[in-house]
């Protein structure tokens, strides 16, 4: 009778590979060599990081090399090409698992195969056997693309291990270290359903979040309130006009996730009039800006551009923006306003546009 290729002696089975660990032992399994149509029942399945060992040795963990009385069928994980599960007729439970290997096709039969399947797939993904090959390669003088890929994979593995070790004790362990955060979330949970609560809104706003228990209109109204607060802070520094992009940047600066999009900020800005806020959305040359309702072009010119523009020396928009500490986009809007008021004249030249105080109209 032809012997199965998966038979190994005790001596060979006992020879563990570098870094090989036993993960789990399942009892009462059956091994089928499809080529020989040989089925071996009542075996223990030992799943290690490197192999599947089918044996009737009850003390596999204390395996001695001269244990010749027991059977050992070994399937190296690195030789498994595909893993397929088969369910029973009219049943969703796994009936058996088929393994296509380099040495031939085998099947695993038994009750409750879900656990073994997960363990086997997990071991196959980790590819612990590759660590042997990597160490051998580090000794070589020349490093090629494969070694770089292996190095990358090693780094990924280390990251996974670090994350796994963090969650080693489960969530209970984690929460022991986050007692303050837990208290805050408990407080919010208890009070959030009591309706409007400014303290909760303040806490949520500081961590860049907004309440979810609102309709879309309510959301935009709340967002409008927060955006307006920001605008009121920025208007004095920016001269009464802030671009949508700047508001988007400053509003999201304290968030690191769930950023509010420019469209949402714009929609919130469109609520200002309805909510009687002293700010509005304006469009200049297709650019949306937030403008204070108290923005006065003449006063703004005196306090900003008027300080730097003269009859004799022309300045570009970039130079003016730098002097005023505002963006070029906003500076150009202010210049356009000043031109429309007849305060500024334009000198178009080959090296760029320069702006002068209006001499023509003042004489």
């Amino acid at each position: 009778m032809q012997q199965s290729l998966f038979f190994l002696s005790a001596e060979m089975t006992a020879m563990t590979q570098f870094n090989e660990k036993t993960l789990f032992i399942y009892q009462n399994m059956q091994f089928l060599d499809k080529k020989l149509k040989m089925k071996v029942p009542k075996l223990n399945l030992v799943i290690t990081t490197h192999r599947l060992i089918f044996t009737n040795n009850p003390n596999i963990e204390q395996l001695k090399t001269n244990d010749a009385q027991f059977v050992y069928l070994v399937v190296p994980l690195q030789h498994i090409k595909t893993v397929q599960t088969k369910t029973g007729f009219l049943s969703s439970q796994i009936d058996h698992i088929n393994f296509e290997t380099n040495l031939g096709d085998v099947s695993l039969y038994g009750d409750n195969l879900e656990g073994p399947l997960l363990q086997i797939k997990g071991s196959m993904e980790k590819k612990e056997w590759l660590k042997v090959q990597e160490q051998q390669q580090t000794q070589s003088v020349y490093r090629g693309l494969k070694s770089e890929l292996d190095k990358k994979e090693k780094q990924t593995q280390q990251t996974i291990e670090t994350v796994q070790s963090t969650f080693k004790g489960g969530f209970e362990e984690l929460f022991k270290n986050a007692s303050e955060l837990k208290e805050i979330s408990q407080y919010i949970k208890q009070n959030i359903k009591k309706g409007e609560n400014n303290e909760i809104d303040e806490i949520l706003s500081k961590i860049g979040q907004s309440r979810l228990d609102k309709t879309e209109d309510q959301f935009y109204e709340k967002l409008a309130e927060q955006v307006y607060k920001l605008c009121v802070e920025l208007f004095p520094k920016m001269g009464g006009i802030i671009s949508l992009l700047d508001v988007y940047y400053y509003f999201n600066k304290k968030r690191n996730q769930n950023l509010v999009s420019p469209e949402e900020i714009l929609k919130a800005g469109l609520q200002f009039q309805k909510l009687n806020y002293q700010a509005k959305i304006e469009r200049y040359d297709g650019i949306s800006v937030f403008e204070s309702t108290q923005y006065n072009i003449d006063k703004d010119y005196e306090n900003t551009l008027g300080k730097f523009i003269s009859y004799e020396v022309g300045l570009t928009a970039e130079q003016l923006a730098k002097k005023l500490g505002i963006s070029v986009m906003i500076c150009k809007i202010k210049l356009r306003n000043a031109i429309n008021q007849g305060k500024v004249c334009v000198d178009n030249r080959i090296e760029g546009t320069r702006y002068f105080q209006n001499l023509i109209i003042n004489i």
């Binding site: 009859y311 022309g314 429309n340 004249c345 334009v346 000198d347 080959i350 090296e351 002068f356 001499l359």
Partner: protein, 181 residues
């Protein structure tokens, strides 16, 4: 005289002002700018006694460009055309076609007054004079505004005099004579 001097200084100031060479978008500023340009160009025509010109010749005259700051600034053809159109509206020039125009160094009304005043001075009231006689005759001289002007301009001025009842214009075989009344 002081007025003329002040105006000259003003024009010099504008010609040294860089944005003057860019027609402004602001309506009021643009209107004033074109008016100033019209006056400057008219003064240029007067000082150089230019009676005929064309758009292409205008592109070469020095007042429309300035390179004093090291960067050449100049008005382009469309902008110069806009200025000339304004001058045509004011009667300072007359378009002959798309390109060419004649220059009225003095306005027809001003000419008419000057001609009639001269006729009175020379005791020509009731007498007839030819157009050539008015511009180049013995009784006229270079101090007169109408001296050596094209006959079309003199005829126009005389037609204004006719309308105001100060002369009668006769035409025979393409030749005109004027009887001062």
């Amino acid at each position: 005289m002081q007025d003329a001097q002040d105006k000259l200084e003003l024009y010099q100031k504008f010609l040294k002002y860089p944005p003057f060479y860019t027609l402004q978008d602001h309506k009021e500023t643009r209107k004033k700018q074109i008016t100033q340009w019209s006056e400057i160009v008219h003064l240029y025509f007067q000082s150089h006694k230019i009676l005929q010109s064309s758009l292409s010749q205008m592109l070469t005259i020095p007042i429309f460009s300035d390179s004093s700051s090291g960067v050449l600034r100049k008005l382009d053809a469309s902008e110069i055309k806009e200025i000339l159109d304004q001058m045509a509206q004011l009667g300072s020039i007359e378009w002959k076609n798309d390109q060419n125009f004649s220059v009225n160094l003095v306005s027809p009304f001003e000419l008419a007054d000057a001609i009639y005043a001269w006729a009175k001075e020379k005791k020509l009231i009731g007498y007839t004079e030819t157009l050539k006689g008015i511009t180049e005759g013995n009784q006229t001289d270079q101090t007169k505004k109408f001296y050596d002007l094209p006959q079309e301009q003199i005829l126009k001025a005389c037609l204004i005099l006719e309308e105001t009842g100060r002369c009668q214009v006769y035409e025979f075989d393409g030749l005109y004579s004027i009887k001062f009344i």
